[in-house]
């Protein structure tokens, strides 16, 4: 392509650039504002101060005195971490089983499991709450994770991605006398590393963001999660916006780190089984 052609192409793209710049600004601004508000006092926030202020330490101290920030952060990390490990193990095992040992019976089971995708969380909330409460699991990590350990989404994701798993390895390993479980641990898991990474990112994000279910089963303040903590901060009659945005910032730090460090895995995790 000649130089002239190139600059003509770029000129034609000017409206596109303008549009994308506007959309990018709208996308980024609320987050910029959240961070700047966390460093200002509530009066400055309300009057529309957009630059960074000097109240970050003050807001942080107020947040610490008003809430159990460290305990809640630890809860959220614990729930989301355990959820991720257990869900990945259970669902990858199933994806492995469905794809590499597949027969008619298993396909029928798979199609039945997919129906669970249509079951809304709000419809199972009450029976599950009664179940958790009768087993004495309220306010424990088990109540948090049990309903979402096994999801059709993750099983499907592992199943679809298992299609690329080389079957020859499987046969070779069997001839060498490796057990079926051994194949899963020693061959499947290492080969599927990138699928595990994507699945881990999306599972962790979903668990971290969960709000309705924890609100139902975490009745004790000491068991609450970060989303619950910041929702409570905002629920009062007089809201200190500086402190609130400091809390919101803390709730978003893990998700932001994941976003910036693992963006590729995050995008893959979202699209999951769509290939």
């Amino acid at each position: 392509m000649t130089k002239k052609n190139k600059s003509a192409t770029q000129r034609r793209l000017i409206p596109t650039y303008i549009f994308l710049i506007i959309v990018s600004f709208i996308s980024v601004f609320p987050l910029y504002w959240m961070i700047s508000a966390a460093t200002n006092n509530t009066v400055d926030v309300a009057t529309g101060k957009l630059t960074f202020g000097t109240y970050a330490a003050q807001n942080f101290a107020n947040l610490l005195s008003r809430t159990d920030l460290w305990g809640t952060l630890w809860n959220s990390f614990k729930y989301a971490g355990v959820q991720t490990i257990v869900a990945l193990f259970v669902c990858s095992l199933a994806g492995f089983g469905f794809e590499l040992y597949h027969d008619k019976g298993k396909d029928i089971v798979f199609n039945i499991l997919l129906l669970a995708m249509m079951v809304p969380a709000v419809a199972t909330m009450i029976p599950l709450f009664k179940m958790m409460s009768s087993f004495g699991l309220l306010n424990t990590v088990w109540a948090f994770i049990l309903p979402t350990i096994s999801t059709p989404f993750l099983i499907m994701m592992f199943r679809q991605n298992s299609r690329n798993f080389p079957v020859d390895i499987l046969e070779a390993a069997r001839i060498d006398g490796v057990s079926e479980f051994g194949i899963f641990f020693r061959m499947y898991m290492p080969v599927m590393k990138s699928t595990y990474a994507a699945a881990a990112v999306i599972t962790f994000m979903n668990a971290w963001n969960a709000y309705m279910w924890p609100k139902v089963v975490m009745t004790d303040n000491r068991a609450q999660t970060m989303p619950m903590l910041i929702a409570n901060l905002a629920a009062g009659y007089t809201v200190d916006y500086g402190v609130l945005m400091m809390g919101v910032l803390f709730c978003s730090i893990p998700t932001m780190i994941i976003f910036f460090v693992l963006q590729k895995q995050f995008a893959e995790g979202i699209t999951g089984s769509v290939k």
């Binding site: 990018s24 095992l93 027969d103 669970a116 419809a123 199972t124 096994s150 905002a234």
Partner: protein, 294 residues
């Protein structure tokens, strides 16, 4: 030889057993229980069969607040989902252009709202649109408004803000699907169209949309599913207010079961079964519509 094959098949069943049992116990069993419970009334510890059995269902369709929550949810669905998905396809199409500079940067920025935790973004929008918030300050300073407007205290503006917030949070998310889909389309198809003199509008409707159809159907189903279950935004952005005029179905069901002191499990179950039926029907319809347009 046969026994080895059998052993392998058995191992296969073993692998999928934990996941299958969990889904059965945590999804299928509770939905059946919810159906049973929807025919009962009374406090949570003392549920009795309702008299008549369909009492909760007839109550539901006479409950003005429930009907409003259904109306609100559909309003969000009908306005937000099309705007969001069209915007997402458009952005994906623009960002798929190889001549565009800073593609990665633009993509990251458009995708960035997904990095915000769900409750976080509701609270950010609540603060931005507060009566003493930034948006009001700017509008008053620019002279567009004379005095501060209570966005979240008026039904229509509160609904609009829920929709704006949803579009902000989820457009980039859906764009990722379309970008992935577009990458499967050979770039040469576009070059050929360009040589044939098709403008970008034509290319978009004649090439991009048809080739992305499976992806579009999936995002439609996911968005319908998600919007019908809207909860976080209603609770945290508007608290369902003013006077319950922006409340969603999930929020209302929550209020009837855990939210406001009264645990009306039977009635809440009936309403939640209604949501389940809606999700199932609308997913079926979108799949059918998608199949037909070949």
């Amino acid at each position: 030889m046969k026994t080895i094959k059998r052993k392998q098949q058995l191992a296969g069943w073993g692998f999928l057993l934990p996941a299958s049992i969990l889904i059965a116990i945590m999804s299928f069993y509770p939905i059946l229980q919810a159906i049973f419970m929807s025919f009962k009334t009374g406090s949570s510890a003392n549920l009795q069969w309702a008299n008549p059995l369909t009492y909760n269902y007839s109550r539901m369709f006479k409950d003005a607040l429930f009907l409003r929550s259904v109306g609100n949810t559909f309003l969000y669905l009908i306005i937000q989902v099309p705007i969001m998905l069209i915007l997402a396809i458009l952005l994906a199409q623009l960002l798929n252009n190889k001549d565009l500079k800073f593609r990665g940067l633009f993509r990251t920025m458009v995708f960035l709202p997904c990095a915000t935790a769900l409750v976080s973004y509701s609270l950010i929008f609540k603060s931005l649109f507060a009566t003493q918030g930034l948006v009001n300050t700017i509008l008053v300073n620019l002279g567009i408004f004379e005095t501060n407007y209570n966005f979240l205290g008026n039904t229509n503006s509160a609904r609009a803000i829920i929709i704006i917030a949803l579009i902000w949070r989820w457009t980039g998310y859906n764009m990722v699907f379309y970008l992935a889909g577009l990458q499967n389309i050979e770039y040469s198809v576009y070059e050929a169209a360009k040589i044939d003199g098709a403008n970008s509008w034509k290319t978009f409707w004649r090439i991009t949309v048809p080739l992305l159809k499976p992806t579009i159907i999936m995002t439609v189903i996911m968005s319908i599913n998600g919007t019908l279950q809207l909860f976080d935004e209603s609770v945290n952005l508007t608290s369902g207010g003013p006077a319950n005029s922006t409340i969603t179905m999930s929020h209302y069901i929550y209020n009837n079961s855990f939210g406001q002191g009264v645990a009306n499990f039977g009635y809440a179950s009936a309403m939640s079964f209604f949501v389940f039926v809606l999700v199932a029907i609308l997913s079926r319809i979108s799949m059918k519509v998608g199949d037909k347009r070949d």
